[in-house]
Amino acid sequence: MEKEFLQIIKKNQGIIHKVCNIYCDDQDDRDDLFQEIVAQLWKSFSSFREESKFTTWMYRVALNTAITAFKKTKRRPDQNRLTYENFQVKDENYDTETEEEIKNLHRAVAQLTGVEKSIVLLFLENKKYEEIAEITGITQNYVRVKMNRIKKKLKKFMETEE
């Protein structure tokens, strides 16, 4: 079972990276959350009953873990606040404009609550409302309502930024 688990997680680890990316703004936190999610997936693996797709189950466990496990316990005054330096977006292939866009993305997402982040992540991952509802355990209607609120929230944030 362990071997099967490791293979399937290795194949789908992109999901965990994405969850970590949306919930954490520095590399240390991302590493901690990644480890936490893998440990939690392993603990819950025996209860995966194939009633849903593996990736759906994986998103659910990863997001639930991010929401409940990653209430920051470390209080480091210089790192609690979101800073540009925290975003590791340096890439040789990026131009300044792309870098700025990625920074803006992180700053916008940082305005959202833990649950809103999970909905936005699934939206960014092109999940349909039906699948977002299945992963988050809320109805499709609520997903729509929530998406509208998130849009308004982000719009307001961007307006104040400009």
Binding site: Q13, V38, A108, K151
Partner: protein, 226 residues
Amino acid sequence: MDLENLKKTWDKLPTEKQLDESQLMKMIEHRTKSLIEKIDRNIKIGFGVLFVLIVIFALDDLILSPILMKEFGEDIHIPGWIIIISVFSNFLIITTFIYFVIKYYRVKKGCDMNCNLKETLIKIIDTLKIYRTMFYLALITFLFAIGTSFLTGMYKGFLEGVQEKGMVLTEVQGDKIALVVLIGLAILVFLTGLVFFFLSWGFKKLYGNYIYKLKLTLLELQEIQD
């Protein structure tokens, strides 16, 4: 920047370093830090504390009390009702904890991280709340038991002291009785206060604080359905 723009930017994010199976293997042995996992750990600590309490009660009943009774005279008779209250309060503390553990693991068995998080949180918070109520009821019973034992012991001791002097209680001066009552009450309040503070602090540390933290997470989840 609207959501569509965010989506375009999201697709440009760099690909993270891919971990191999040996690196993932190390992670599955990692101790998790989630609130629910911490409660699991604290239940094990709770069992440890309970075991220590049982050992202390047993040592008191089987060793310390008989030694003290020999020391102060073998004719000391402990009223039956005090023994009943004492046994009942100990029984209540133990059964309350065991009831909580059974209820908690039933909730956890039925639902975990891979379930609807909101429902799991509601059930765990309810279980913790019930345990909190039961714990304080058991604690009050326990304090009542040690309080009455202490007062009865003090009364008996005072009475024997008076009888040794060849007097009866009605012959003792009122201010002396008042002084004894005051000192007795002061010691009683201090002792029960200390026990209450210590056990209450222990409970909050192990479980009580998690009710608040879990409620915060639940509030965040419920905000979706406002």
